[in-house]
Symmetry: C2
């Protein structure tokens, strides 16, 4: 009870989505990762070799912010910067073998998270939910796989 009875879909979406993001953050914290780091790791794996500028643009964040995120992943050997030989200003981002292993663990955590969040729905209902959310996401211009808050995966 707050603004409306019953609450609209948008409020429910924001509330459940916030809850989902918080629970996911807890899970990946066990891997010593933050949601933005997970998002970056996944993007580098999916589109390797891109410059920090390009990745920052894809994630919708200023390049300066990417520096710290890449540093954290590179310090742990999960990604690496490779200098472009013809233009030494560019740092191409690549995932390492350790990074790939970590991403597999993240995937497992994500599936567990998904199962826990949707445990009250049966298989058909989960598929219905996913289809409806995908429609909204596409209509609202959200890029597949990219979290608009960059804090979630």
């Amino acid at each position: 009870m707050a603004l409306e009875n019953p609450p609209g879909s948008a409020f429910l979406l924001a509330a459940v989505g916030s809850h989902a993001a918080a629970r996911f953050a807890e899970r990946v914290a066990d891997l010593d990762l933050t949601p933005p780091q997970v998002g970056l790791l996944g993007l580098i794996a999916a589109s390797p070799g891109q410059s920090q500028q390009a990745v920052a643009q894809l994630l919708g964040m200023p390049p300066s912010r990417l520096v710290g995120l890449v540093d954290a992943l590179a310090d742990r050997g999960l990604v690496e910067r490779r200098r472009n030989r013809t233009d030494r200003r560019l740092h191409a981002l690549h995932i390492t073998d350790e990074g790939t292993e970590m991403l597999a663990r993240v995937g497992k955590v994500g599936r567990e998270h998904d199962a826990a969040l949707c445990r009250s729905l049966d298989a058909a209902e989960r598929e219905t939910l996913r289809a409806l959310l995908s429609r909204i996401a596409a209509d609202q211009g959200l890029r597949p796989g990219i979290h608009p808050g960059y804090r979630g995966v």
Copy 2:
């Protein structure tokens, strides 16, 4: 393309929910309100006369944080603190007439927001989405009408 193909419901929920929260924040900014202020205003309207401690507990935030939120609403005459006569330490929170008017405007904004977010779904689909989200919210222990991030309405 990031972690999974296709993305799980949890990721979609977090992404679409974050988008919904951001768009709502933009809309209420036109009323010079932040989402936490809206959530507090709605709670005071729904449960008037409670102490700041009680409201803070309901919203899941420390009482110290409530001070600034109440100040902002009280300075604009939307809510008021009424001192308890028998125990002068207590400040009962009440909404004013201006606050009630403002809440009506917030409700209108919320319905517009809802319509814009779900414009790609027909009426039956919206109802299906709302039912599925309500089930998840109840199962996950979310209190109806209370945003777990306190930033949303």
